[in-house]
């Protein structure tokens, strides 16, 4: 009995302690710091204030959030537009081909997105592969300015995050019961109706999960705007990074990261809601 509870206690204890020390306590500290004032010498002064949050209404920072929001939304929607049909085809392909096709999506999922971003630079820069190709084909005379634009940042984010949209979509579509689609057809539902009334509602949790995995990181991948964007392109991720490493304004950086966390929690709630609704009415 004692030995039994020892193993049980050990396995539960180690992970709990680790999470408390390296997830809960740090999160608590960030919350605390976000309500304190900055201090040039000691980084943080123990003077409580709300100023770190009210500063987001300052047009400069407000604009950063707005720009990031637009870019993150565009990224997530572009990933969805490209990924949805792809995941659909993938889920419907033959068994043997499927595992290879899936593997080809999983590999970039795990590959360093920094290296993949660097690969894009080689393609997009002024004397890069794309420009050389277009000039060689006689389509353009002057190299196009592709790198260091907002478009390049968007391409970079979509390129890095596309697998994060495809995989959850695929997982959801894999579960899709084909007999439901057949039933819809038997009831004379057209292709469009079948899509909107059966396929789309049943794959909503996948869409929300994919959205979460592409939308949130788009805010944060500071090295993509750093490497692909112009000097002006600044995202919340860059803002936070700068507060912590350049301008040494930790409380403000902490407040920005709290706002990101709140965004994550909202998305999680939406996800739970959508998958729970699906469980309650399986064939809605």
């Amino acid at each position: 009995m004692t030995e039994t509870s020892l193993f049980k206690r050990l396995s539960i204890g180690v992970i709990s302690l680790w999470l408390v020390f390296f997830a809960v306590v740090p999160a608590g500290l960030v919350v605390i710091v976000s309500f304190l004032s900055r201090d040039p010498a000691q980084l943080v002064a123990p003077v409580p204030t709300f100023e770190n949050y009210t500063r987001f209404f300052d047009p400069v920072f407000y604009q950063v959030f707005l720009d990031s929001l637009v870019l993150a939304l565009s990224t997530a929607l572009a990933c969805l537009a490209v990924g949805y049909p792809f995941a659909y085809i993938l889920a419907r392909s033959r068994r043997r081909a499927k595992s290879l096709m899936l593997m080809l999506v999983i590999i970039p999922f795990w590959t360093s997105s920094l290296i993949r971003t660097y690969a894009l630079i080689i393609l997009l820069k002024a004397n890069g592969v794309v420009n050389s190709l277009l000039i060689a084909l006689g389509l353009i005379d002057e190299p196009l300015m592709m790198l260091y634009t907002d478009g390049a940042v968007l391409i970079g984010l979509v390129y890095s995050l596309l697998p994060f949209m495809i995989l959850p979509l695929y997982a959801q579509m894999e579960k899709l019961d084909v007999s439901l689609l057949e039933a819809a057809s038997d009831l004379y539902a057209g292709k469009v109706a079948r899509f909107f009334h059966v396929t789309l509602p049943l794959t909503t949790p996948g869409i929300v999960a994919g959205f979460m995995l592409t939308f949130l990181p788009s805010f944060c991948m500071f090295y993509i705007p750093d490497l692909l964007g112009g000097a002006k392109t600044m995202l919340v991720g860059n803002l936070i990074k700068n507060q912590f490493l350049t301008s040494r304004d930790w409380p403000f950086g902490a407040a920005a990261s709290i706002i990101l966390t709140v965004l994550m929690v909202v998305l999680l709630a939406v996800y739970r809601q959508s998958s729970r609704r699906l469980e309650r009415e399986p064939a809605a």
């Binding site: 030995e3 039994t4 020892l6 193993f7 049980k8 396995s11 539960i12 180690v14 992970i15 680790w18 999470l19 390296f22 997830a23 740090p26 500290l29 960030v30 710091v33 980084l43 792809f86 085809i89 993938l90 080809l104 999983i106 590999i107 970039p108 795990w110 590959t111 360093s112 997105s113 920094l114 290296i115 993949r116 660097y118 690969a119 894009l120 630079i121 080689i122 393609l123 820069k125 592969v129 050389s132 390129y159 596309l162 697998p163 949130l216 990181p217 805010f219 944060c220 500071f222 991720g237 936070i240 912590f244 490493l245 930790w250 902490a254 990261s257 990101l260 966390t261 994550m264 999680l268």
Partner: protein, 257 residues
């Protein structure tokens, strides 16, 4: 007709995912300073790479942290998965939710939280802080991989062992562990990859005393395209491909039986 459109679409997406990587690897073997002119096959950038002491030092550091972080995270993450799967205890739901939240938490939030923690306890940034951070973001991936494997597990075997007087520790070592071993190995490999590639968290929690490859690459890439970076990236890409391939095979092997 529709089949052709489908095949074309799928190929186009794969081209989008793979052409940039392939171009990068091909130009690593290019005998020219300018990345866009092909001047013949050469290994000189690889040779130059292996003559670069600081890069080699950073590579050794990265592998060291990767191996240690993956091993620690696999031990903790596997035990956590078994605990979540086998036991009913107060806070079980909270624990499993926390594990999932950690996987979707933005990396930058984890990076700065740990930075604040390390500063609060006055820990100098370097090897130890980096290792602790890497273990933290690897654990949930191990736990989720192992939990996925445990779900298809026949609980009668465990009950039979219990009836025969096996202790919890024996059950874990003799029954559960052998059955989840492929997932544990896959979890280790994926953790190693995550650790080797991480930029966002490492950026905040390591100091100049302990340099690692991704941050070196980041600093080099900021200065522009260099053939040595191509060579280095090519090596890392091939390494990642092999590891992920192996991990996938391990996770699939048992599932199909």
């Amino acid at each position: 007709m529709i089949r052709i459109v489908k095949a074309a679409y799928v190929s186009l997406v794969y081209a989008f995912l793979y052409v940039p990587i392939l171009v990068l690897v091909v130009f690593a073997f290019n005998d020219s300073r300018v990345a866009t002119n092909w001047q013949g096959f050469s290994l000189r950038w690889f040779a130059k790479l292996f003559g670069n002491e600081t890069l080699l030092g950073a590579a050794v550091n990265s592998v060291l942290v990767g191996v240690l972080a993956a091993t620690l995270a696999t031990a903790i993450g596997t035990l956590a998965a078994v605990a979540i799967y086998r036991y009913r205890f107060l806070g079980r739901k909270v624990l499993s939710t926390a594990v999932y939240i950690l996987t979707i938490q933005p990396d930058i939030v984890m990076g700065i939280s740990l930075l604040v923690l390390f500063m609060a306890v006055r820990m100098p940034l370097g090897f130890t802080t980096l290792l602790l951070a890497h273990v933290t973001f690897c654990i949930p991936f191990v736990t989720i991989t192992v939990l996925g494997r445990l779900k298809g597990f026949d609980t009668h075997i465990v009950e039979a062992a219990q009836d025969l007087g096996a202790s919890e520790y024996e059950i874990f070592l003799r029954i559960i562990l052998p059955m989840i071993l492929p997932a544990v190995a896959a979890g280790w490999l994926l953790s190693f990859t995550l650790s080797l590639d991480d930029v966002m968290v490492s950026f905040f929690v390591t100091g100049p005393s302990f340099e690692i490859l991704p941050l070196k690459i980041y600093a080099m890439v900021k200065l522009g395209v260099k053939p040595e970076v191509n060579a280095l990236s090519a090596i890392l890409l091939v390494l990642t491909f092999c590891i992920v391939f192996a991990a996938q095979l391990m996770m699939k092997e048992r599932r199909e039986k």
